[in-house]
Amino acid sequence: MTLFGRKVPIVFSLAIWFIVWELVGRARLSTIVPPFSDVVAAGFTIVPTEKFTRAAAISLRSFAAGMGLAIAVGIPAGVLMARVPLVGKILGMWVNVFVSAPISALVPMLMAVIGIGETTVVVTVFLFAVFVLILDTQVGVKQADRALVEMARSFGASRRQLYTKILLLSALPEILAGLRLAAIRGVKGVVIGQLLVAIIGVGELFELYSQHFLMEEFWALVIIVFVFAFAVSEAIAFLERRVEYYSGAR
């Protein structure tokens, strides 16, 4: 960002918004916008509470389980779709439908089938995350350099070696990009799942705060969730940049 012809660090952009927020809050224009300083203070009060730590633990567990499942299913499915044309044809359309479909609409149905609880949230995270991971893995493996596959064959690579030493590594940049998008969707999945189920984790807290009009706490929680999603995404983006460096100009 540049201001008056000088380069300004990106933090200042955030700072300006926080100042505006503070002023709007101080002016008491709306009850749903408390001053930013009060939100930060509320954040520090809720984080150490047992209620929060338990909610965070449940949410993280659902997120991790759903993402783990998405990786375990998504990457093999993507590889299979890329390598076996028939599988690609059969599943391709469905994956494309689901990657763009509003999965949230399915959550009430999941609740009816699986019940109201953590499992439903895990399945929601899985459904939010898995399709984009499948698609990106498929693209990555499909684009894998054919010359490298031929080279490995010429040196007597086994089928297994072809996958572990060429195809997966070759597709790694795309797989990581897919993983980053999947993780971002996964965070949405946790929040939406828990909001709809409404009795567990962070979703329960959101319900509690908004129903009792605890706006400071509500916004503090929003910021915490945003920061978490951003941090996960940046961590994967960091890995991506490392891989890009090693693979150079592909």
Binding site: D145, A152, R153, G156, L169, S247, G248
Partner: protein
């Protein structure tokens, strides 16, 4: 040629799924310990023929025998050097050169020892820990050559290995290759579209016709290379005659 054949191609034809007929009834004997070249215009099927010998591609009809064994796939007695290098972009020079041995399950210490040796021999000492994108085209091809040498195959299959590098690198590379082969004693099958390159390097030149490729003529340049500098070879009467002879044959269908 007196040397016993190490590769025999018998009645090989290849028609692609697209309907393109690349090769028609090609029969050849390639002598052991010599450098043979497939020379012909672009699209004459010379690379196809090389890949069939490598076992990377199956012929539509006909057979290839390597050391008396019928070829049904790649084998440890053959190593391939690719036109576009085909290096692993995520692996260092050291790992790339050792990759053939890695696939064969050779222990890390041993395969790195061998790889270091060949990295030195192709003149890349000091570049072991660089990555392919940090190297020039000529250096990348040296990595490809070192990788093929490291598996210690008797037959080296080279698919237009110098076509992606500039002219001076190409000449230097040709000279180094001849020098290296003096030491290594390998059978080399080399694909090129350059008349000078074929004449400079080869013991036997197989001229292929335009698509569908058939054997048009086989030329054996009798150039006495040992003890001569590259420049002397390029001024040698037999070298110049060979270039002329090839040109006269090729002219018929240009």
């Amino acid at each position: 040629m007196s040397a016993r054949p190490i590769v025999e191609v018998r009645g090989v034809s290849k028609t692609y799924d697209t309907g393109v007929e690349a090769l028609r009834d090609v029969s050849l004997s390639l002598p052991s310990g010599k450098l043979s070249t497939f020379l012909g215009p672009s699209g004459c099927g010379k690379t196809t023929l090389l890949k069939i010998i490598a076992g990377l591609m199956a012929p539509t009809s006909g057979e290839v025998f390597v050391k008396g064994q019928k070829v049904s796939g790649p084998g440890p007695e053959r190593a391939f050097v690719f036109q576009e290098f085909a290096l692993l972009p995520w692996a260092s020079v050291l790992r790339n050169v050792a990759f053939g041995l890695e696939l064969r399950g050779v222990a890390r210490a041993e395969r790195q020892r061998v790889a270091r040796e060949y990295i030195g021999r192709v003149g890349l000492k000091g570049f072991e820990h660089r990555y392919p994108h940090q190297l020039s085209g000529g250096m990348r091809q040296r990595v490809g050559l070192a990788r093929a040498l490291a598996v210690n195959a008797e037959i080296l299959l080279m698919d237009e290995p110098f076509s992606s590098v500039d002219e001076q690198t190409r000449r230097k590379f040709q000279e180094d290759l001849l020098e290296l082969l003096q030491v290594e004693k390998k059978t080399v099958i080399f694909v090129t579209h350059s008349i000078e390159e074929a004449a400079y390097l080869s013991d036997q030149i197989v001229l292929l016709s335009q698509r569908p490729g058939t054997v048009f003529k086989i030329i054996e340049p009798r150039i006495e290379r040992p003890g001569k500098t590259p420049d002397e070879i390029r001024r040698d009467k037999n070298y110049l005659d060979t270039v002329d002879e090839i040109w006269h044959v090729l002219k018929q269908y240009v």
